[in-house]
């Protein structure tokens, strides 16, 4: 397990996330967009990471991570999410404020720090957005989840994760009273625009657009 620069770690994590939400291979431009750089810079970095055996790369063909690359990415994600938990649980930040700070803290690599932080936080399994936290071996538990948008009317479930962590999205959820753990019943689904009418915690009635509902993951209650 080699020592990587902050930049290399950021690229690796970005590639991992693109792979997770899409196809087998990711392209140079997608990486450039996510990392806020230009395609030319990405090309250089891909060669570097390929030389380090962290990804497999043939010119013009896109990249995928090697076993080692994926594991390395998971350990970075582990640090990122543990710090997110710390910031929300201990320092009382709101869940929409922690991304940028955790993005810096994740690069402090001292292994005893990560271990003790994990212990101090009570070995959390999920971060404030419901995303699973890999263990020290890069393993995580992934319970099958449903996208709220795909739940048909009459069913109820519990919100377990958000798949968008932008401040705008999270603030909106705060406003309409949706949080990780909230109980949601889908009352109706509008044919025209795919928006949902639902009850939150048995009380409040909300209307969510298709875009919003597509970014909420739930576990259905047995009916």
């Amino acid at each position: 397990m080699q020592v990587l620069s902050t930049t290399e770690e950021n690229y690796l994590k970005s590639i991992f996330q693109l792979l997770k939400e899409g196809s087998e291979k990711v392209g140079t431009n997608d990486i450039a967009e996510l990392t806020g750089t230009k395609a030319a810079s990405v090309s250089d970095m891909l060669k570097k990471l390929a030389a380090k055996q962290l990804l497999s790369y043939q010119k013009y063909q896109g990249v995928s991570l090697t076993e080692e690359g994926a594991k390395t990415a998971l350990l970075i994600l582990r640090r990122y999410r543990l710090w997110e938990v710390f910031l929300v649980e201990k320092l009382k930040f709101n869940w929409d404020e922690v991304a940028a700070i955790a993005e810096e803290l994740e690069h402090v690599k001292a292994p005893p720090l990560v271990r003790r932080l994990d212990e101090y936080l009570g070995f959390p399994k999920f971060d404030p957005h419901g995303d699973p936290i890999p263990d020290e071996f890069g393993e995580w538990s992934h319970t099958p989840r449903m996208i709220l948008q795909e739940v048909s009317p009459g069913n109820a479930g519990k919100v377990v994760a958000v798949t968008n962590s932008s401040a705008a999205f999270l603030k909106y959820l705060d406003k309409v009273g949706i949080y990780i753990g909230a109980r949601i019943e889908v009352v109706d689904k509008v044919e025209f625009d795919g928006s949902l009418e639902l009850r939150v915690d048995g009380e409040k009635t909300s209307f969510l657009s298709r875009e919003v509902a597509a970014n909420l993951q739930v576990i259905l209650h047995p009916s």
Copy 2:
């Protein structure tokens, strides 16, 4: 208050510490030694920091910090020591294990993070080694202290700080039962080598070399 790179911050903090423990001006070689670089690199950096008004510098004449440079250094030291407190108080690291980790964490600059960390820790005034923690304006309280080595036999005091934070020194203190807050009575001082015989917490009798006693600060009990 400009944004500085990690490297610039490390130089600035090093220069501050050299100034605090010595003369009016510090030399290029001293800085190189403390930062683990070469004199040539230091010369370059001095020009850069002088251009940013953080230190005053004339070729071959050594440097001193400007008002702004000193304040900036104090704010870095603030972050460094707050993280030290966190690592010892919350994550249960020993006081000899925290230097390298805090040295990295100090560069995470998000201001709300520092504020909330301070609050979370209960606004500590001193770090685990007894060093004062500057407030958000770069101010700190400095009670007058005595060096244990200079306390004459028959007097007693309380250990308030160590002026060496090397793991070797701190582990040795652990071994002989000396800690911040320990009550110490100077029983005798050996003329020959300046070593001290003393009682710790009224119980154990210890013998400390001149070097060790020179790195302990105490406040005398009124006699």
